[in-house]
């Protein structure tokens, strides 16, 4: 494989009438869309669209079938044993809120009524989506929100985790991969530790799913959530995987059509299974796009994706490290890099000495380089690390060495202009 991306041509945004010179380094925010996905959504919407799960006519039945089949495709994609464990929603944010309010809240409320103390455990790197719902619940039930520290390498401190978990811990929610540091947590090991304390686990997989084979069965978490748009699919579509044994005790978190088996004016019986969490009409176009994105990645194959991404991530990290004014948020230790040379983050957050990150991003933008600047929805993490904001560059399938070179040249120009 050469250093050029063999897949860039699959993304119409780079075509000559659109943005041929775009250097897109913000895939952690959202991935650009391959033509396969856009076409699938277009074709579905033009030629197959109807309301799923409702109509008795063939067109609607076909759409129902598509959605139900999508559960199997997604289950297979994340290593779940059955499509029955897959529920569709609008994204990671909704998935976490759903679990917080339909699974965790009743447990907290029960303990609260019995006068038992409770605590919830998260990690220091969490995206606001995996922090605010827990803050809300902690406040509502006077529970303690405990935060596991991170190591110098930017992953969860497992010794600290063991200290924080106890008999009153009602849930452990953590990200599989941080959207700021790009490091993967040892999810299997973390869930094992939680299990020893009988603590249910929720894994925020938003940043993890596009970077390698996810296997929720091996991780053995209770819940796993992610968004289609961070996987080259459309926005507004997400997935909650849950162990089906939990579904019965969970109450729907939003109420509406399609989730009830019987309704009268005083009470309702809810349907069993994952559809209980899918009130209203399904976002079928989004689900179709997600399935196409999964198939697109499948066609390329994980080994090819990983080989390209690892090479590129290594080039990105080495090139940035050569800049004398480059200040990464986390400095990977030489020891770890020697031990795990392939485990180089494809998301890097950094500052340039004496240049504010917003100026860096603006100047890069003037060279058509898209990066993120700010706290990336992880303000407490930035506070923990003692900075207010950083620049974040993150890689996708369409990137290649030339994008890294443009970034480095752009940073150099920004630094000279602002400090020279």
């Amino acid at each position: 494989m050469t250093s050029a991306s063999p897949w860039k041509q699959d993304f119409p945004i780079f075509s000559s009438h659109a943005h041929p010179s775009l250097c897109y380094l913000d895939s952690a925010a959202t991935c650009l869309t391959p033509k396969h996905v856009a076409d699938a959504v277009y074709h579905y919407q033009c030629y197959s669209h109807a309301n799923s799960h409702k109509g008795l006519y063939q067109l609607s039945a076909n759409v129902t079938e598509k959605v139900e089949h999508a559960r199997e495709t997604v289950a297979d994609f994340i290593g779940a044993t059955s499509g029955a464990s897959i529920s569709f929603n609008s994204g990671t944010t909704e998935g976490i809120n759903l679990i917080a309010f339909s699974f965790v809240e009743p447990i907290l409320s029960d303990a609260y009524k019995k006068g038992k103390p409770s605590n919830l455990v998260i990690s220091a790197v969490e995206h606001h989506a995996n922090l605010l719902p827990w803050q809300r619940l902690a406040e509502r039930y006077q529970a303690e929100l405990r935060v596991v520290k991170i190591t110098d390498e930017g992953i969860m401190d497992l010794a600290h985790l063991s200290q924080l978990l106890d008999n009153n811990t009602r849930v452990l929610a953590f990200s599989h991969c941080s959207n700021v540091l790009g490091r993967f947590n040892p999810a299997e090991q973390i869930c094992r530790i939680a299990k020893r304390h009988h603590v249910p686990t929720i894994v925020d997989g938003a940043q993890a799913v596009a970077h390698g084979k996810t296997n929720v069965s091996a991780i053995d978490c209770d819940f796993y959530v992610f968004s289609a748009h961070k996987l080259y699919g459309p926005t507004g579509c997400g997935v909650m995987y849950g162990k089906t044994e939990h579904f019965e005790q969970m109450r729907p978190y939003q109420l509406g059509g399609g989730i009830v088996s019987k309704v009268n004016f005083t009470e309702s019986d809810f349907v069993a299974g994952a559809t209980k969490f899918e009130p209203g009409s399904h976002h079928v176009a989004g689900i179709v796009g997600l399935v196409e994105a999964i198939e697109y990645l499948h066609d390329i194959s994980w080994p090819d994706i990983q080989q390209h991404m690892e090479k590129l991530a290594l080039y990105l990290n080495t090139s940035l490290n050569e800049l004398p004014y480059y200040q990464p948020l986390i400095v990977p230790s030489a020891k770890r890099l020697a031990a795990q040379p392939t485990e180089v983050a494809s998301i890097v957050s950094f500052r340039l000495k004496n240049v504010h990150c917003h100026d860096v991003a603006s100047l890069l933008d003037s060279n058509n380089i898209a990066v993120r600047a700010g706290h990336h929805c992880a303000q407490p993490l930035h506070e923990t690390l003692g900075v207010t904001a950083t620049v974040r560059a993150s890689l996708g399938l369409y990137n290649d060495f030339s994008d890294v070179d443009k970034l480095v040249a752009g940073l150099d120009q920004a630094y000279q202009l602002m400090t020279g």
Binding site: C357, H358, D359, S366, H375, A389, L417
Partner: protein, 155 residues
């Protein structure tokens, strides 16, 4: 990022008329007026742009309704810093009422593209470059809204 606003790669940002970082603005960024100046402040306020992390404090010394001294502190981007610097440079000696009136005008010129006229047009000309960069207007505005807060706060 539209292609229309895209710059040719061989043209560094600084030479472009439409560039955000004009020389005059950069000059304020590099040698800011009033930055970390020790003054006997009678009024001050803290301003924060939550989305980008600009965090500045504006302090003024008011004597008999006139601004005798101005200073600013904190960590911010170059646009915010240059805006604060121009504010410190040009408001000294004006009355509180004059400053509030001018502040209204500068804010309107930044947020609604209303042209400044007269001396102010010349003094605050470098800030006009943010016109074409809507996401950065908040950076240029922050010192002004913070100044107004300081003036409205009782000492």
């Amino acid at each position: 990022m539209s292609e229309a606003s895209q710059q040719k790669p061989d043209q560094p940002a600084v030479h472009d008329d439409h560039a955000l970082y004009q020389q005059a603005l950069l000059a304020h960024h590099k040698s800011p007026v009033g930055y970390n100046l020790a003054i006997v402040a009678t009024h001050s306020a803290q301003g924060v742009n939550a989305t980008c992390g600009d965090d500045i404090k504006i302090a003024v010394e008011i004597e008999q309704n006139y601004l005798q001294a101005l200073a600013f502190y904190g960590d911010s981007c170059a646009i915010c810093r240059a805006s604060a610097s121009m504010l410190c440079q040009h408001l000294k000696g004006l009355s509180v009422a004059e400053v509030l009136a001018l502040s209204q005008k500068v804010k309107a010129s930044l947020s609604e593209n209303v042209s400044l006229i007269g001396v102010a047009a010349e003094q605050f000309e470098p800030l006009r470059s943010v016109e074409k960069f809507p996401v950065r207007k908040q950076c240029a505005l922050l010192p002004w809204t913070t100044l107004e807060q300081a003036l409205n706060a009782t000492s």
